[in-house]
Amino acid sequence: MRSLELATRNFKEVWRDPLSLGITIGLPVLLLLVLQAFGEFEEVFTPTSLTPGIVLFGFVMLMFSAAMTLSRDRESALFARLLTAPVRASDFVAAYSLPYLSVAIIQGIVLFAIGAFLGLEVDGSVGLVFLVIFVTAVFYIGLGMILGSLLPLAPLSGAYAVVLLLTIFGGAWMDLEAIGGVFQSIGNALPFAHALDATRAVMIDGVGFPAVATDFYWVVGYTLVIVALALILFKRKMLE
């Protein structure tokens, strides 16, 4: 498991970077604490409605952080050295994804724990909620791998803004049915609304897997495509 060796290094790099952790975990927590204060005026700001959207916001930050690390590393002499080791592209993608997946899990747990403290309720299976969230996290981190493989550091913030807007207007924080039109069609074609719909349906309506299967597979499909694309791109990047 050579990818584990590299993943361990990346894991240490991630968890020894307080600024990055502050942004990826601290900022979503802060957002949750601030926005839930408006819960008594608007239903969308109640912890139950708000938390899944904030988790997705946290994943966007994580995607940005993962993309930045990979993009910065790609420019470094250390990365050139790592590429001269007998390691495959899949090992590299796994090694860069796993540490961020660990942050995503902690992020999800922390946000849901704070949400629960503030009054978040899950009527359905907590395991199913976390399954959907987990697959969504893989999607975002895969997207981070693609952006980090393709872009230098400077244009990354632009890409981050695009993904953040797509997440927000793609159904994470906006009701697509209320928006309607082209935005609704675009939102439904993207995975964000499906991830949120599935999570909220399990949490609020207490439904089981069959009821959210379509939304779930929609997210899984996107995730598989994104991960495959990340692998192909990375393999190309290994040889300049």
Binding site: R2, R9, K12, E13, S76, L78, R81, L83, T84
Partner: protein, 314 residues
């Protein structure tokens, strides 16, 4: 992984290897054969094609023409096998700054599939060899430039590679650190095949068994440092350093000696017959005082100048 060296085999062999970027030819049909256990140097100025050649040999860059083999494995057909027998210390210091020296070494050992216990033992030996034992637990970002470079070289050695690529290993280091790294490289002679790129002629002169002089992507000379130096004229050269040397004074010296070259500090005079007394007789009446005069040793810089008409450090 075995570190055994087969004496009758070429460890590195290139066959007209080339790399172009659009209209620019960075490496132009290079043919090299480096023997197993040899300490071989690619010497040339910045932009000569040294790093591009190393990148192709390390499977980081696809050649646009020709190919190469490392320990018999083709760099294009079997890059994974090539990567199993090589290690590289890139031009820039290539370490993970947030990890300590032990963790950096463990990372590279792990990527090469070395067991933890063996890696730990080897890492300890390398930290000792590089004089880093006392700082092994400190994060690398706290190290000085020389320490980082020594750690970088140790990271290339931890996997016990058969072929080691050192790309400008002492670039930007102070003379003391450079000398320390030379000693470590010297210790590898005969044990590893080392391909060293440098633009420091004294480095190639001091370390290399053989030197390939590269310029504008082409190998323009190949041989031992002694052979290369022997290829240019063996006529002795006297260097005369003097201030306020005028063109007229140099012309007067040319009346005395057939080959007189103006240099920054004074003049170089070719010929067995060059005499400091005769030179003084020319310069003193013109109010010019000789600050020093000495017989010059032929260097690889002279070889480069002879071959290309330009100095290595230009």
């Amino acid at each position: 992984m075995s570190s055994a060296i087969e004496s009758d085999a070429f460890a590195v062999q290139t066959f007209g290897i080339s790399r172009t970027y659009g209209d620019l030819t960075a490496v132009d049909g290079v043919d090299l054969a480096v023997g197993a256990g040899e300490l071989f140097s690619l010497l040339g100025p910045n932009g000569a094609g040294k790093t591009t050649t190393i990148k192709m040999l390390c499977c980081l860059l696809r050649p646009t023409g020709g190919t190469a083999t490392i320990m018999g494995h083709d760099i294009q057909d079997d890059p994974l096998s090539v990567k199993r027998v090589i290690a590289v210390s890139p031009q820039e210091t290539a370490i993970a700054e947030r990890l300590n020296a032990w963790e950096n070494l463990s990372l590279m050992a792990g990527l090469h599939g070395i067991e933890k216990q063996a890696a730990r033992k080897k890492s300890g030996e390398l930290l000792e060899m590089m004089g880093l034992t006392g700082r092994g637990e400190d994060r690398a970002k706290k190290y000085s430039g020389g320490m980082k470079r020594r750690l970088s070289i140790a990271m290339a050695l931890v996997s016990d590679p058969q072929v080691l690529f050192l790309d400008e290993p002492t670039l930007g280091l102070d003379p003391q650190s450079r000398r320390a790294i030379w000693e470590h490289i010297e210790a590898l002679r005969g044990k590893k095949t080392v391909l060293l790129t440098t633009h420091y002629l004294e480095e190639a002169d001091a370390l290399a068994d053989r030197v390939a002089v590269i310029d504008e992507g082409k190998i323009i000379a190949l041989g031992t440092p002694g052979e290369l130096k022997g290829r240019i004229s063996d006529t002795p050269v006297m260097v005369v350093e003097a201030e306020n040397l005028t063109a007229e004074a140099i012309e007067a010296l040319r009346q005395l000696y057939p080959v007189v070259r103006a240099i920054e500090a004074g003049v170089e005079i070719e010929g067995e017959e060059a005499s400091v007394y005769d030179i003084q007789d020319v310069l003193r009446p013109r109010g010019i005082t000789i600050q020093s005069a000495y017989r010059k040793q032929v260097t690889l810089d002279d070889v480069f100048l002879h071959l290309t008409g330009k100095q290595l450090r230009e």
